[in-house]
Amino acid sequence: MLLHRREQTLVVLLLLTSCGVASTLSPLAALAGGVLLMVLAIIKARLVVLDYFGFRSAAGPWRSILLAWVVAVAATSLVPMTVSFFR
């Protein structure tokens, strides 16, 4: 049976959380691992904004504002790895 969108979102969120934890066991470099974790976090946050907040069909700037916050936090969190990488 096909799952409804909200149920699909829940399953994807649970899977992505597990993938994020599993990725920390891999021998990825700090910067690559950090980028992977932040990409996963942005995908999860986007799903929450669209399907939990219910902004998938919403017009106006609200969806963009929430997603801009997510991307800004993710980008700032990569600063330490980027600094170490270029040091």
């Binding site: 700090a30 399907d51 939990y52 017009a59």
Partner: protein, 193 residues
Amino acid sequence: MSDALAELQDVEAGPSVFDTLPGHPMMWLLIFSELAAFGIMLAAFSIARAIDPAGFAAGRATLDPLLAAANTLCLVSSGWCAAKACAAAHREAPAVTRRWIAGACLLGTAFVAIKLSEYAGEIGRGLDPDSGTFATLYFLLTGFHLLHVVLGIAILIAVGWRARALDVETGAAFWHMVDLIWLMMFPIIYLMR
């Protein structure tokens, strides 16, 4: 005459951009200010880590990412329950709405219980708010978030009482904000090397 003119202006203006927000607009004022506060604190955490990478690596090693992952699963699932409660409230099914809200509150309470047991373990391992920059920022961020989880549970209980669609949407919006913030905090604090 002036009433008729005002009515005509309302019709011509169409729906306000605030009408597209789920729940009460004042809750969104709170949500955006909370997001700004947490954004600043997370930025401070990242900048402090850039300044003292060794201290932060040592601090992170004392944390238990599996407990935090379990907490993520709790919050994500409780957000789903809150979204289901909104859908039930729109269908004007108060009993179903209350059941989903109860599920969201139970999972939120599980988050609080896991977080408190995590704090107990960390303090037992010698990590306390005064034991360095990492510890101070860790307890500040996660403690402030934990307070929001407790407040969110209280709000959900309050809106579940009458189970009206606008109230449930307002409470659920706050709860999803708590969820959204944790989804960013979890990898930044617990997983990033």
